[in-house]
């Protein structure tokens, strides 16, 4: 099978227990990692070992288990900090996922800074999670949302982006990598431009961290969010990176234990220091620890090797699927990561997805939580094959052959 330098997809696959199962009588070919990636044994073990050997509530205990649990959890925060290049662990907040992180920023920084008469910028390709929290706040506050439209290849309309920046937005929020199209946006470039225009920048990195080496300081962003489960970690845990000076000035969001300095009915309540100010209640301790293990695992495999492997898969998928008559690709940007989105003339995506499932091939069909994009392009959705470390060129061949077979049945 495939091997790129030291990267051996066979060795990778052997670490993912779920890949040995069958679906509908066929070996599972999983092309839905953009929705959620599978977990290597190292991650499964990290979570299980914590629960079996170290579990206790963190931060407050004097006993040994509490100490060990705290060290493991805070150790994971340090791994994450290193992985995304944050300056300090005070800038690395554990949240429920990318959605939760965006809501946190909307309800704290957003509530503080976005007022009537203000505007902010989003793009047409955003996931609902980076649209709805802002719409909810805009409805309440009365600020405007300016939308950057897309070119036919699924890249951002740069002239429109520039034009929106001239309107002096307070915030520019956009995705690093599109979950529906695979487009990789030039975060560094647009962050610099947005800063020149006086805006703060939030980047949704849910689809970037699984595929690319991300360094938040190099990108220059103010906020960056991602989800654990898309990057080989567990569900229910994610990260919000925030620039320390901004986090210091933001009011807390959820109140409760952990996030306080001291609580008093008489003297009022003071808040904890960063990052705990934003981490009310007992967190998802095992999830945080396992997310640390996931990023450590990615680092051991080599993120650049993963990027290269997935690029090869994407290229091969485009080439093989293009053989199908009536194939139309959505998202043909020069710089893409991890996703091939398509429709076949005269074939509904739901039908194609249903027949591929019978062949043991898991793809996602529908609007991919990007309804504004699908509506604009006047399509009901697409079929999306997304790639992870464990996919092989042979699986991509199975996908292309499966699509050809299904299309023959459906036409």
């Amino acid at each position: 099978m495939t091997s790129t330098g030291h990267f051996s997809v066979d060795a990778i696959r052997a670490q993912f227990p779920i890949l040995s199962r069958e679906v509908n009588g066929h070996p599972l070919a999983y092309f839905d990692s953009a929705a959620s990636a599978h977990k290597p044994q190292a991650v499964i073990d990290a979570q299980a070992r914590y629960l079996a050997e170290k579990h206790s509530n963190i931060h407050r205990g004097v006993h040994s288990l509490a100490q060990e649990a705290t060290e493991a959890y805070e150790g994971a925060r340090e791994i994450i900090r290193g992985h995304i290049g944050a300056a300090s662990t005070q800038e690395v907040l554990f949240v429920g996922g990318a959605t939760d992180g965006i809501n946190l920023v909307a309800q704290t920084w957003g509530r503080q800074h976005l007022q009537q008469g203000d505007c902010m910028v989003l793009t047409r390709m955003e996931h609902h999670s980076n649209i709805v929290p802002w719409q909810m706040l805009a409805e309440e506050k009365g600020f405007r949302i300016l939308v950057v439209e897309l070119n036919a290849d699924g890249t951002l309309d740069e002239d429109m982006f520039q034009a929106h920046l001239l309107q002096g937005p307070k915030l520019v929020a956009f995705m690093h990598v599109s979950n529906a199209l695979g487009t990789v946006n030039d975060v560094k470039h647009w962050t610099a431009k947005s800063h020149e225009a006086g805006a703060k920048v939030l980047v949704d990195g849910a689809q970037a961290v699984p595929h690319l080496q991300v360094n938040v300081q190099d990108l220059g962003v103010d906020f960056y969010v991602f989800s654990g489960h898309k990057t080989y970690g567990p569900t229910g845990i994610g990260v919000l990176y925030g620039r320390q000076s901004l986090l210091e000035d933001m009011p807390p969001w959820r109140g409760g234990g952990e996030m306080i300095g001291s609580v008093s009915f008489e003297q009022g309540t003071t808040y904890n220091e960063l990052p705990y100010k934003f981490e009310a209640g007992t967190p998802h301790i095992s999830g945080g620890i396992a997310l640390g293990a996931a990023l450590q695992w990615m680092g051991q495999v080599g993120v650049s090797a993963l990027t290269a492997h997935e690029h090869a898969l994407t290229q091969h998928a485009h080439a093989r699927l293009a053989e199908v008559q009536g194939m139309r690709f959505y998202g043909t940007a020069p710089c893409k990561a991890g996703v091939v989105s398509f429709l076949v003339d005269g074939v509904h995506p739901y039908d194609l997805g249903t027949l591929l499932d019978q062949l043991g091939i898991a793809v996602r069909t529908g609007h991919h939580c990007a309804e504004p994009l699908m509506d604009k392009w006047n399509i009901p959705g697409t079929v999306r094959a997304s790639f992870g470390a464990y996919n092989t060129l042979q699986e991509v061949d199975r996908l292309a052959d499966g699509v050809a077979r299904a299309v023959t049945m459906l036409r």
Binding site: Y350, D351, Q358, G366, H367, P380, M409
Partner: protein, 142 residues
């Protein structure tokens, strides 16, 4: 007198028992979808649309002079349309009371129950619910 809802379900189960593998089964559903009589243009309207996340279904119901309810349906996805055709075959041209109280088991029996699951979000589950609601409404004298 048309056959009852239970007999029609049994017929379908027998029909599907002949198929050796999933491909034959789905090929049959696809052909049922292609053969389903098109909706009258005046029925293919927003009011009759059941919006699933994955595929859309249109369902229209009329009560004839003999008191029997007639259904017609359409979908933008052919497999959904084929399954809708089976639903129409089972429940159309029946009394409103029979429709409202029908126990639909045939999708289970032919191994296609997952298509009715809410996670599929193809509009079929809502379609069945809507057909039964029509049965109830027409029983109540609507």
């Amino acid at each position: 007198m048309a056959t009852g809802i239970d007999e029609r379900q049994e017929e379908i189960v027998e029909e599907f028992a002949m198929f050796g593998d999933w491909m034959e089964k789905y090929e049959h559903i696809i052909s049922l979808g292609k053969e389903l009589a098109p909706l009258d243009p005046e029925d293919k309207v927003e009011d009759n649309l059941i919006k699933g996340c994955q595929s859309r279904v249109w369902l229209a119901a009329k009560k004839g002079d003999d008191g029997r309810v007639m259904f017609t349906a359409d979908s933008d996805a052919i497999i959904t349309k084929g399954l809708a055709a089976l639903m129409v075959r089972v429940l159309s041209d029946a009394s409103a009371a029979d429709i409202a109280s029908a126990n639909l088991s045939f999708l289970d029996d032919i191994g296609l129950h997952s298509h009715l699951s809410p996670t599929r979000s193809n509009g079929l589950q809502s379609m069945v619910k809507q057909m039964k609601l029509y049965g109830l409404a027409f029983t109540a004298g609507g």
